[in-house]
Amino acid sequence: MLMFRNTAIGVLAAGLFSSVGFAQSKISFVEYDLPNGLHVILHQDNSTPIVAVSVLYHVGSKNENPERTGFAHFFEHLLFEGSANIARGEFDKYIQTAGGANNANTSQDRTFYYEVLSSNQLELGLWLESERMLHAKVENIGVETQREVVKEEKRQRVDNQPYGSLMEEVFKRAYKQHPYRWVPIGSMEHLNAAKLEEFMEFYKTFYVPQNATLSIAGDLDIEKTKQLIEKYFGSIPKGTREIPRPKVVEPPLGKEIRDTVFDKIQLPAVVQAYRIPAQGTSDYYALQVLTTLLSGGGSSRYNRSIVYEQQKAIATFAFPFPLEDPGVFIALGICNQETGPADLEKAMDAEAERLKKELISEAEKTKIINQIETSFIEQNQQVAGIAENLANYHVYYGDANLINTEMDRYRSVTSQDIQRVANQYLVKENRVVLYYLPQPSN
């Protein structure tokens, strides 16, 4: 096992390779499929007596019926309601009694559930997750309560939060056909209209073993864990329905879309959203590098030029939204009190133009790779993070081992690649520009 890096060798290696990299401890894992199609990934790390049990269902808001948006996320709430063997409200209680922690989240592309437990409670985690997969119980009382809860979640995170509607406003303009045109929180009217049978249909279609990845990391014994997985998940029948996946190819935007959003804010903001390829493509990695160049750290171009030198913004961000289908690259600036959005936008455009004209220097590229490398390594500090990353890499890229090797993809990005993607994607016809302005007072 390579769980612990030998210190002496490590120091030596760091000394030898300090300028070109280092021998990173590899994250080892085993993976296999059950006959019912459930994909299993196991990572053993016995350094702390805890274990993270996670299930990723490959269903997100993009799999929703356009008349029933918000379903995937709503479902995430419902699946804590109980099962044939777990009474309503008991799910959390089991976790609490076992001293565990649990939660879940939903994106455009997937729904993710996890528990972190003391390692002697691994079997409990498997039982809970298998109950959720085999026969979750969805009842009216739970539907009614969670409807209110989700509405409060939306009010808290979107409606009452300054700039909280940003994603919704961007995505509904950046897409006309693809289901990314709505965001996971969805429409409250759709949730109000949904009937209990529809929830059961959704469950039978998407919450099936062949659409799930069980990823477990921590203090476990691989062989014993395999036996337990067979015990709890082996008898879950394979789903019989076809799993709908959107095949819509969103046509190019064609022309720049500009709009204004009024919000409960004091400082205007500028949002530029450029349409880009899906995550995992080589252009996507080039854009990731470009992102760090623009807004990673105090010396990044946005921070240096727009925040520090020109003092036009109090904060700037740039990030490609990681999505399975072609997504968006979002550049965002919040105006300094004395700056108008048009002025800030000009400064942001100037940085895009510079990327198109000038090749970035080798020194700048080294700096960015160092930054990316640090965050790449730091994302695996906890077993819960490792379990999630392994599942994501498997589901999105079909290669869980990218947890060890993805860094090579970043390294292979050249200065020419960065210039090329800037010229190809950071163009007017390919973007939505939103000005966030303070709501006129009443």
Binding site: F4, T7, N85, W127, N160, G298
Partner: protein, 685 residues
């Protein structure tokens, strides 16, 4: 690897699948295996000659290392220069005597590291191959800051923009007001930064602060990760060996206490779709206090996460919120108790009602051992999980020294937790939960929520604040020439005139409401001037009754029969009148016009009626129609609508009541006037 695993699995399945399927009993949760031993990792420590204490936790799992310096420094009251520490945090990163800000940023990013410093702390983390460079930059920032004048102007400008954006954030506003409510503006935990205080800050203030927040003799350094003790010693000596300074002085502040009785503090966020609620007060709880673990158990039961009572009640039972939580933060100066929730406007008062109900419940009702044991298990688990981060051990070591805890405080933590009794937890609730003396901070849409919150303010005067915790004017002044008398006169005239009202000597009403399948009936009878009767029936059975005959009166409730106080008799008679406003003063009430306010979007006169017992009845009259729209008293609030004539006098036929968190709609079924009520109806039994 994959193919091999599948093969083994297939073999395994063919051998065992039958017997396993037969064994599996899904109906109950599997038994836990033997509990693993929770081992606290080890740390090593040393001290530099200048007094800097260093704690090292080696962990070579990943090639990363973290250095974190914390200074033992009491909070500083910044007063008219509030915001100095915030500007200081930017100024210390704005260049050293060796290199300007631009170069400093460049160096940090080139290492791929993250390095930050501020008033009393510094932090560096990144790949262990760069440990030496990282630590040197961190030391340079701490020991040789340049504090350039030109940077101060830029940072002030940024800070002013930041202040403006804070005014949008309901959570930030609530926290500003909570600080003032709990500690007062003259306390480091209560003072609030605004435009004026930012503008007053000079470079000298920044320099002065530097001398107050950094010194090796008062500092602890935690080094965690892929590094050896020898490396840590050599690197710290090189980077911080020349640092000089004496122990920083301690400071004292006026003591803060929970209020005598509950108070409401509000910020009117006109177009809010949710109310941000903070129920809060100061508490005495120092880190490592003897009852600190019991308090943690109790607080977790009340509102620690998804299994806390608040979450179960406000979210899972009522669907009021995405989450509601309670916390008590131990603090060497003064701790704070806080319950939080963000709820939609229409349930703001109901949510507060449930919060207070849960506080009462944990104080007054026995906490079951089952709940205590589950919570102990939860805390044990959290403790074990926290050990995954090697930084936890360094934190334990530094806390032990800084707060002078027993040397084995953390080794014994889980045993001490396990040994806590039901009484210990119950005592923690009794000592720290105050269901009657709290500050209730609410940021939300005033016209939708204010009147519902009045019952939670002991003196009935909600105070209004701006986003920075400064008092704001509350009610708008009433138009010139308007007095309590003119508002009352207008109402009397609108509902039918004095003569029509005086003509009513006897008055009976029957109203009905249904709740959760139950029918509630309310009957009132009045025979002037001194006989009255009120009966509440639930499914036809008398649930409550009050009868007044001349100078005497009794109430009958499930708790038994009780004689009424003279003042209560007067108040009941006044309330049973067809029109309270026509004769309130005859029964010892006084009236005060308090000002103008919006009630559900309608501009209203706010009138305060004080009864002979001292009870307060607040009433709102529409400026436009003159009609009474809403009342609020200690019992709850009522909305009045569907005014229809009864014998020439307009009487509301619909009453929407909100009582103790429940909403009831009473419909008037029957109203009779001068119908010859028998005196025997008012006999006291």
């Amino acid at each position: 690897m994959k193919a091999y695993s599948t093969f083994v699995l297939a073999l395994f399945c063919s051998l065992y699948v039958g017997s396993l399927s037969a064994q599996i009993d899904r109906s109950k949760a599997p038994e836990a295996g033997p509990a693993p031993k929770i081992k606290l990792g080890t740390y090593q420590s040393f001290k530099l000659k200048n007094g800097l204490r260093v704690f090292v936790v080696e962990n070579h799992k990943l090639p990363v290392v973290t250095f974190s310096l914390q200074v033992e420094v009491d909070p500083i009251l910044e007063g008219e220069k509030a915001g100095t520490s915030e500007l200081f945090n930017s100024m210390i990163m704005a260049g050293t005597t060796k290199r300007p800000k631009v170069e400093l940023d460049e160096q940090i990013d080139m290492l791929g590291a993250s390095i930050q410093a501020g008033a009393g702390f510094a932090f560096a983390s990144g790949l262990s191959r760069n440990k030496k460079e990282m630590l040197n930059i961190m030391a340079e920032v701490v020991m040789q800051p340049a504090f350039p004048e030109k940077e101060l102007e830029r940072i002030k400008k940024e800070s002013l923009s930041g202040l403006a954006s804070q005014q949008d954030d309901p959570g930030q506003i609530a926290s500003n007001i909570a600080g003032v409510a709990n500690f007062g503006a003259q306390h480091p935990y209560g003072e609030v930064t605004d435009k004026k205080t930012i503008e007053a800050i000079t470079l000298q203030d920044i320099r002065t602060m530097y001398t107050q927040v950094f010194s090796p003799k008062s500092s602890y350094m935690a080094i965690v990760g892929d590094i050896t003790l020898e490396e840590a010693k050599a690197l710290t000596e090189e980077a911080f060996g020349k640092w000089q300074g004496e122990k920083l002085p301690s400071r004292k502040f006026p003591d803060a206490q929970a209020p005598q009785a509950s108070q409401v503090f509000m910020y009117d966020r006109g177009n809010s779709v949710q109310s941000s609620i903070r129920l809060t007060y100061p508490v005495d709880l120092k880190p490592g206090a003897p009852d600190a673990i019991a308090v943690r158990v109790m607080t977790n039961i009340l509102g620690g996460g998804m299994s806390g009572r608040l979450f179960k009640n406000l979210r899972e039972t009522h669907g009021y919120t995405y989450g509601s939580y309670a916390s008590i933060s131990p603090d060497a100066v003064k701790g704070t108790f806080t319950i939080t929730a963000e709820v939609r406007n229409s349930v703001t008062d109901s949510a507060v009602y449930q919060m207070v109900a849960e506080m009462n419940r944990i104080v007054n009702e026995p906490i079951s051992m089952d709940e205590i044991n589950r919570t102990k298990a939860e805390i044990t688990g959290a403790f074990a999980r926290s050990l995954e981060d090697p930084g936890t051990i360094a934190r334990f070591a530094i806390n032990t020294e800084r707060y002078k805890l027993p040397a084995t405080y953390y080794q014994d933590y889980l045993t001490n937790l396990a040994n806590l009794t039901q009484e210990d937890i119950q005592n923690a609730a009794l000592n720290y939960v105050k269901p009657f003396s709290y500050n209730l901070v609410v940021v939300g849409r005033r016209d939708s929520i204010e009147s519902g919150l009045l019952p939670y303010d002991a003196d009935g005067k909600i105070e209004f604040f701006d986003a920075f915790g400064r008092k704001a004017g509350s009610l708008a002044p009433a138009p010139d020439g308007t007095t309590a008398q003119t508002v009352v006169d207008r109402f009397i005239q609108v509902v039918g005139g004095k003569d029509n009202i005086k003509g009513i000597k006897e008055f009976s009403q029957k109203a009905e409401a249904s709740i959760q399948g139950f029918t509630l009936e309310m009957e009132t009878d009045f025979k002037g001037p001194d006989k009255g009767r009120m009966v509440v029936k639930q499914m036809g059975q008398v649930a409550q009754k009050a009868v007044v005959n001349g100078k005497k009166g009794t109430t009958v409730s499930p708790e038994g029969e009780k004689a009424m106080e003279p003042a209560d008799i007067q108040e009941m008679l006044a309330q049973l009148q067809p029109v309270f406003e026509a004769s309130f003063s005859d029964y010892g009430y006084t009236a005060e016009l308090q000002g103008m306010i919006l009630v559900d979007g309608e501009r209203c006169y706010q009138m305060k009626f004080t009864g002979p017992s001292g009870s307060v009845d607040t009433r709102w009259y529409s400026e436009e129609s003159g009609l009474l729209l809403k009342t609020n008293s200690a019992m709850g609030s009522t909305l009045y609508s569907r005014y229809q004539p009864v014998n020439g006098v307009l009487v509301p036929h619909q009453l929407d009541q909100s009582i103790q968190g429940m909403n009831l709609t009473f419909i008037l079924k029957e109203a009779k006037v001068n119908h010859g009520l028998e005196n025997s109806l008012f006999d006291l039994k």
